[in-house]
């Protein structure tokens, strides 16, 4: 047994399109490796198309990785013996609570059905559903259990979705932009609820977001992905306060912050071609610090694992030295 709830090793996903001889391939995720400790919140941050949702979907077994391993408590999630049990342990909260609940069924049914199927309720299903509703702050629970999704607000729907997930007693929750469809004042409530549930139930979260503010608010560690690769990973405060990779700097620089005091010295190359380089660093076209060596040799993640790692030649000396 390791200390890690989840270990992701060298995960790759290649999507193919087209037919026969005209096949196009797109590598959505490239060699992503990370660990998630028990009770930890890891935020995956990146722009659309950077592979963050694809990673989430592979971890929840919604799509198959092209290669790589995902270990839950040291066991591969594709291991036959565990396949029946594992879906309960790793649950997912989706971005759109409006789409996640079937409009034809009551909230009580939506939450109760998985409990019936997995025989999770100790007393009656209804009792357990009421308990779950109370846990996520949908009180008085009696008022909510027989409501249909259209009768409750977006924030309440997201709470119901979380209640449904909690019913299966998961240990890892993968949350894909859980608040981006909600109003900000409601979103912060959902984040607070998730933080409280983590304390209460010692849950681990993998939080997918594009908002650095909420990543900092929620997460212990932040992993920044660009073009399917991890470019930086580290303690949340360190990554936000002292970003190393030029892409992380660009993200921070671009996030609205009216209270910003110092003007970061980063030249933004924002409108370059969106095609990716065939070799070398994926960020080279947009990087203000690009050198010849960035253009030819692909760059490894420098630094000790699970501490601070950066995929940038600028930090080769500094981080390799630390490693030694």
């Amino acid at each position: 047994m390791s200390n890690y709830k989840l270990q992701v090793k060298e995960l790759n996903k290649i999507f193919s399109s087209g037919v026969m001889f005209k096949k196009d391939q797109f590598q959505a995720v490239k060699n992503i490796s990370f660990n998630l400790r028990k009770g930890e919140i890891l935020a995956i941050v990146g722009e659309s198309g950077s592979g963050k949702s694809t990673t989430a979907r592979m971890i929840t077994n919604l799509i198959k990785p092209t290669s790589g391993e995902i270990l839950y408590d040291g066991t591969n999630i594709n291991n036959r013996k565990f396949k029946r049990l594992l879906p309960e342990k790793i649950q997912m909260v989706f971005q759109d609570p409006f789409a996640a609940l079937n409009p034809n069924h009551t909230i009580g049914y939506a939450i109760g059905r998985p409990l019936e199927l997995k025989k999770k309720a100790k007393g009656t299903v209804r009792e357990r559903v009421l308990e779950l509703l109370t846990q996520v702050g949908l009180t008085p629970a009696e008022d909510f259990i027989d409501k249909y999704p259209y009768q409750i607000s977006g924030g309440q729907k997201q709470r119901a979705v979380i209640a449904r997930v909690l019913g299966l007693e998961p240990e890892v929750i993968v949350a894909d932009e859980p608040t981006s469809m909600l109003d900000v004042s409601i979103g912060i409530d959902i984040m607070n609820l998730m933080l409280d549930l983590r304390e209460e139930k010692k849950l681990s979260y993998l939080l997918i977001t594009h908002n650095l503010g909420s990543a900092r608010y929620m997460a212990d560690r932040i992993m920044v992905v660009f073009a399917g690769e991890v470019v930086e990973i580290g303690n949340a405060e360190e990554v936000i306060n002292a970003p190393k990779h030029p892409y992380t700097k660009l993200l921070l620089h671009s996030s609205p912050d009216p209270w910003r005091t110092e003007v970061e010295e980063i030249e933004i190359v924002e409108f370059a071609d969106t095609t990716l380089p065939k070799q070398g660093c994926k960020f080279q076209y947009r990087c203000p610090f690009v050198t010849e060596s960035c253009k030819t040799v692909s760059i490894p993640l420098y630094g000790t694992s699970n501490d601070r790692q950066v995929r940038c030649n600028l930090y080769r000396e500094e981080l390799v030295h630390e490693q030694a």
Binding site: E47, S48, S153, G155, Q156, D183, V184, S185, I186, G187, I188, D189, M191, N192, L195, H210, N211, L212, G213, S214, R216, Y217, E237, I240, N241, L250, L251, L252, H253, S254, S255, P256, D257, P258, W259, I268, E270, F271, T274
Partner: protein, 334 residues
């Protein structure tokens, strides 16, 4: 500075089977020439409805039930459709939310741009093409892109095209309704800077609508905060950054996790926005307000004008706890 747009006691209702929905209720504000004015609030607070009211894009069951809108001294609410059409693009234009999806997918960029230009201004086809090229250059897009279909452009580029279209006839006022909401932060930042640059060059006014208060604080000169169809606070950017006055604005600021400072638990705003068919008595924010007092439940707060702006909250009325914070000057009083 001269007022470009003046809105007085604007009311917009939606007829619904359950009764009138007061989507916008007694909203008054002004936008000066060359000013960037922001309207911020959560979904359903009436900010887009206000924008649609100004640009006459309201469709039944929505209608302006009272109030006046004047642009350059001209009353807009009395104009016929044909008269208003003359103002579109040339005096007032609008960039809609996820506008990049509003380009016709089967028509080339060039034709869409030229169509908009020619519909509102007499010029030769050649002049129109040159003007279209000029517009694309303004927003940093290669003019060769005119021959592309919208799907051949990225989301950010399409949004730039739409902004270029809005600029086509150099209007006095551009309404931007969440122009960057669907975009990544890096792309958003690029577009926002482009907008600010163009605004400086051409001097038009912007009514900028978003729910993203930090973004708004970065770019707007003055900010109006809407809640449940009412404008509860109007302040200058600097004043809002220093101290938000209305409890709702304070709550809204508390809802955005900051990028720096000590990590602490944010409270947000408890509860949820009211049903606009049956809004609560008194101040519509009182059920969610941490400072709610007896009179908040009974009486609608007056909109007080002082030299910082407008505030509609009982805390600042005579006898309220924060009355002394009101900085009334003789000219500010109304």
């Amino acid at each position: 500075m001269v007022n470009l747009l003046e809105i007085n006691n604007l009311c917009i209702d939606y007829d619904s089977p359950r009764g009138k929905v007061k989507a916008v209720h007694n909203v008054s504000f002004t936008i000066k020439k060359g000013e960037i004015f922001g309207l911020v609030g959560e979904s359903g607070c009436g900010k887009s409805t206000t924008a649609f009211g100004i640009s006459r894009l309201l469709r039944p069951p929505a209608q302006i039930s009272a109030g006046s809108i004047t642009l350059n001294g001209q009353e807009l609410t009395h104009l016929s459709e044909a008269e208003f059409d003359k103002l579109r693009w040339s005096h007032i234009s609008i960039v809609l939310q996820s506008a990049m999806n509003n380009l016709n997918p089967v028509i080339k960029i060039q034709e869409q741009l030229i169509d908009a230009i020619l519909a509102h201004k007499a010029m030769s086809a050649e002049e129109a093409i040159n003007h279209a090229k000029y517009l694309l250059r303004l927003v940093d897009i290669n003019e060769e892109r005119l021959a592309n279909f919208p799907h051949e452009l990225s989301g950010g580029m399409r949004q730039r095209v739409v902004i270029a279209m809005a600029l086509a006839l150099q209007p006095d006022l551009i309404i931007m309704d969440e122009p960057t909401t669907a975009l990544d932060v890096v792309v958003q930042n690029g577009i926002i800077h482009k907008i600010l640059e163009l605004q400086k060059d051409f001097g038009f006014s912007i009514l900028f609508i978003t729910h993203d208060l930090p973004l708004m604080l970065e770019i707007c000169d003055r900010i109006g905060v809407m809640y449940a169809g009412e404008l509860v606070e109007v302040t200058k950017r600097e004043d809002l950054m220093e101290q938000a006055r209305h409890p709702y604005t304070q709550g809204l600021l508390e809802s955005f996790p900051p990028l720096k400072g000590e990590k602490r638990r944010l409270k947000g705003i408890s509860g949820h926005p009211p049903d606009l068919v049956t809004p609560p008595d008194g101040c519509s924010f009182h059920p969610r307000c941490p400072y709610a007092m007896l009179q908040c439940k009974q009486k609608e707060p007056e909109k007080l004008h002082d030299n910082k702006g407008i505030i509609a909250c009982h805390l600042y009325q005579e006898g309220g706890h924060r009355f002394e914070q009101l900085q009334t000057t003789s000219e500010g009083t109304k």
